[in-house]
Symmetry: C2
Subunit: 323 residues, 2 copies
């Protein structure tokens, strides 16, 4: 079968598009015919050897896939041949990746794709950022209805998912973005939008909610830890999913306000967290939410180009690879 | 009655030892004859106006007291005249303090003192640090049996309480202190003791537990945030109850390891947290644990001296005031 794989980690030129055997089914797994694979920044970190994780050799790239089941293992109960399914936790931590014509996926890492007419590419392009947002909101922040949340860089891939899911949870959602994105963010569920180029932004957010936000998350890496700590309420939680602009902060003020900083990266998510998120996302996808409309679609043969674009961050759209 | 009070915040010289009316009982409160009052650093911060909190005027100093009930409000159910009781949450957040011959305490902020022969001064001297340790371990860290905890500056007032309570919870307790304190800390429950003057301390702790600690707390303020972050396990929690030596840290490593920093100060504890801690401490006191043996005892008339010693940190023993 056609596969996109590595024999050694390193630069995008190391990526091979060639022929590998169809993988062997196991009793608790299914074999899927892959329709599309998402390209994530973390895929490039794994390829480069920056994110260190156990990998098989040769290592097939790719963490997120959507496809159709063509064979099921003897102990598989929840799925049958013909089902459309997705996964978002392959290709790291010892598991083989999915960027190939066929892939074997453990039943526990598989979710049914919606039965409505939903574009499978828009779905697979959404699962990485959506699962990150879902686990952050429910497990890391434990966001409650009527709590306030400030989402910085809200028009990005993770930001738009955070806005939609936080709104579903009944939170008061405040966003920062370019002002050109305000309308979209309001449609997705933002209660108030602020321009992150406004030099008065910090003062405006202070004035908007003088007691501070219960939760803050910066998806942009453009805000200092100190500034977010000052915008945080007493006992508020700041969640880090990317490196802040500057990580110096006033730790004395922080502990005297009983605040918290919680780091999260989806590669460290537990299987139960991924499973709960997967169920929630399947519901949201069924309602037409979260789907990634603005895609850049590439063939498997263009995988080196896709990884160059990941490395240089030269493509703002979500990239998806098809066989 | 004799009372130690302020008419305006500021230097220790502002402290007046004089005559005030016995406070008025309310239906849900009891009137106690005060036996002893603990002196905490936070009392000095309140006196100086550094820790800002609503206060009555005149403001009677003191947060922790032990005494005997002489009168109960009509709705009080759990206590009766003659009971020995303690409290540790008066004198801030709008509540009058306890450094007087008599004090009115709401029933909900009162705990029975052990019936065994326990020195009331050793108890009142222990409640501030013990409640801090109890809430940190159970509510902030949510420390579990068999988890590892590194307690830095473990021979201090809070440190010794953390060691005893973490040991009671079944944790693997590792401490840093002067080597002269190792024997005492082992008796209190430490599984391993390290000398904090050892220039190889960091490397020794790394070698002792290469996968890192589930929990770290620095009671000394002598360790950098970065060093503790490096000693922390994947998904580990660092709790701040004092300002770290240096608060710069590698936030990228931090979030990629899904670590957390949680600040805590007991003045922000909720009433349910204080109540749960109070029950736990009463049990521990009954077992003869936590009690503060090494006290410096002063008369109410010496309150200015006590506050000068708090300001200059010139007295390492716990100070207790008696009428």
């Amino acid at each position: 079968m056609k596969a996109v794989y590595l024999e050694k980690l390193g630069v995008p030129d190391n990526i091979i598009v060639g022929d590998l055997p169809i993988p062997q089914l196991t009793p608790n797994s299914v074999l899927i015919k892959v329709s599309a694979v998402a390209a994530n920044y973390v895929d490039a970190f794994i390829r480069a050897g920056i994110y260190k994780t156990p990998l098989p050799s040769p290592y097939i790239l790719g963490r997120d896939a959507i496809g159709q089941i063509v064979q099921t293992g003897e102990r598989v109960k929840k799925f049958q041949v013909g089902n459309w399914v997705w996964t978002n936790s392959m290709g790291y931590d010892g598991r083989q990746g999915v960027c190939a014509e066929y892939a074997v996926i453990p039943e526990e890492r598989l979710f049914l794709a919606p039965t409505l007419e939903i574009d499978p590419l828009a779905l697979v392009g959404a699962v990485h950022s959506s699962a990150t947002a879902a686990i952050v909101l429910s497990d890391i922040m434990q966001l409650k209805a009527n709590q306030s949340i400030l989402i910085e860089g809200a028009a990005g891939h993770v930001g738009t998912k955070l806005v939609q899911l936080a709104h579903l949870l009944g939170a008061h959602v405040v966003t920062t973005s370019r002002d050109g994105d305000f309308n979209q963010l309001r449609q997705l569920g933002a209660n108030a939008c602020f321009d992150y180029h406004d030099p008065q932004l910090f003062q405006q957010l202070k004035t908007y909610l003088p007691q501070g936000f219960h939760h803050i998350i910066d998806t942009s890496g453009q805000v200092t830890l100190q500034q977010n700590s000052e915008l945080l309420a007493l006992k508020g939680t700041l969640t880090l999913i990317t490196r802040p602009k500057d990580s110096a902060f006033d730790a004395a003020q922080f502990y005297m306000k009983s605040q918290q900083i919680k780091g999260f990266v989806i590669s460290q998510a537990t299987l139960p967290q991924l499973q709960r998120a997967g169920k929630w996302l399947t519901q949201a996808f069924n309602q037409g939410l979260l789907l990634e409309e603005n895609l850049a679609i590439y063939q498997f043969e263009q995988a080196q180009t896709v990884h160059q674009l990941l490395d240089t961050r030269a493509e703002a759209r979500k990239m998806v690879l098809v066989p």
